[in-house]
Amino acid sequence: MKIKSAFQIAVVMVTVLSFAQSSKCFAQGSLTPPGAPTPAMKTLSQVEPRTPISSAPFTITQPGAYYLTTNVMVSSGNGITIATNGVALDLDGFTIFSSAALANGIGISINSGLRNITIANGFIQSGVTNNGSGVYSGGGFSYGIYYTTIPPGNVLISHVSVSGSQYYGIFLGIGDSTVVESCTVRTVGSYGIISSVVKQSSATDCGGIAIYGAQICDCQGRSSTSSDGIYGSVAQNCYGSSAGGSGVYATTVQNCLGTTGGTGSGISGTTIQNSYGSSINGYGIVCYNADNCFGTCNGSGYGISADAAQNCYGYCSGSGGGVSVSSIANGCIGYSYSGTGLSAFIANVCLGETGTGTGLSVTYNVNSH
């Protein structure tokens, strides 16, 4: 009986102690608030540190980041004017329009001599059209993106499309670090894109030179007049076409295609490699040194005309020449319908053929036929 009582007392003690322990673990603090609540969320400027633009005309006078919040339109003059250094403008997929009856103003104007400008991701659109004969007229902007007086430096334009300007599409000059990347220009009365570096861009239906730059790669330029499609120091992986000028005109040309109507040259340059040029009455390819090229003409021009040519094929379906080389032709093939297939001072392992003219005309023939 005593043992049983002692056991019951021990159980009661353990139960009491357990409760005491557990009530200590779940103890609550004071119900009195520690003080007034403080803001825990970020400010609007912290969430979106950029300045919104919701109407035009708009002038940027402070450095920083800006973005469009909607499509904007002007009835005359400039859309957006950048008047200070250090500006990043994000069009954010929106469009800058001009409804001017007669073309005037600039879609995005960069003031004289500014530095550190980025413009991206949107459209500049106005109403200039080509009547089909190369006459550009209508309303809207005179220029898509352009500067005043002194060209800007450290400028990057990317993912911007310009259409329907009376004169220039994107014009940054070429004297400083200016880059146009992944942009398109369509239907502008004069120059399409002018920049130091132009890459992965297209300028179509331009009344002047379509693309002009020091380095041009992976681009397409089409001029509807006697101006050149692509004009630069280095052109790589490009397609240029012109109604009467040169399709591609550059000092060094690699992996390009150039075509022209009329009397222009398909591709003209100093060194041309791995390229195809086509002309009607001018030169398919004309250069100092042609390497692995194919040139054609349809009339009285030349497929290929060069000082030296290696492994080239020139073809003329008219009275012109297939391949004309003033010094050494090496491993070349020339064909002409009624002119001279291949002419050279020295022809080494070459082939010249003709329909009704002269197949091969060389001063020194080394294993050529």
Binding site: S133, P151, T270, N281
Partner: protein
Amino acid sequence: MRSMALAVSVVTFAIIQHACAFDGRITATITQGSQVTPLLYTVGTNFLRVEVTDNSRPNPVDIVDSSSGELILLFPNNRSFVRLKTAENVPTAPPSPPTMPTMPSTPPQQVGPTGVPGMPAPPPMPGMPQMPAGVGPQSGSSTPPMPGMPAMPGAGNGMPMMPMPPPMMEKTELTATGDKTNLLGFACEKFEIKQRGQVMEIWATDELLPFQPYLQNQPGRFGPAMIEEQWGQMLKAKKMFPLLAILRFAPPAAPGSAAPPPGPERMRFQVLSVTADKIDDQGGDLSQPPPDYQEIQPLPF
């Protein structure tokens, strides 16, 4: 005798004045293959205007200020124009292509900080190992001479000398042949230009005005200058105007054989008519850009 000399001087001066003071219109055509371009030269007292009279496309118009030599290219296709100073419209010195950054002529002497206290001196470059004779680059003066090329069989027995190709960028010159004729009532002299397997025959007179080739674009570009781009400026430099110019293929002659006859025509410039007339340009319509035309920047930018 003195009065005789005076009379001759007066007549000569009058002839020169007459020659230099041609006012009027000249029509001509340029034919290249199937393409025929009709041209109109309008010669005023202080200007020369050259335009294409085929209106199927909006072709550029050239206006030359006779006193300053400034050339204005009008672009009717977009109502713009560009002014080219005298040096810019003569392609004797082609402009550079769009500028590339220039590479330093020599590498920098040292890259990175110099003269930093405690900076260890860079180790000297190891010397060129002495390779076995005839293997790899040889240092010192013990480099053996390259073996001579074996003599060609038959050398000295009538083997032809290795031909020397014509120099690159051969100089193109306007050469007077001495031939003379009369075309459209003007005494003409014959000139020739040869380049790249082509020959151009030009009959030109000094009784009109210095020639102005029709330009569709800004001239003076880089790369090989084609004969079509050069002949006009050469004639202009001689202050002569062509009445007829024909560019033909001229295949090279094989050694020891006569030059083959010229091939088919590539290009022909031919004057059709010359009409002396006083040009009325009171309003400047012929000699100035229209007021609603926008001036654009000339190349290079």
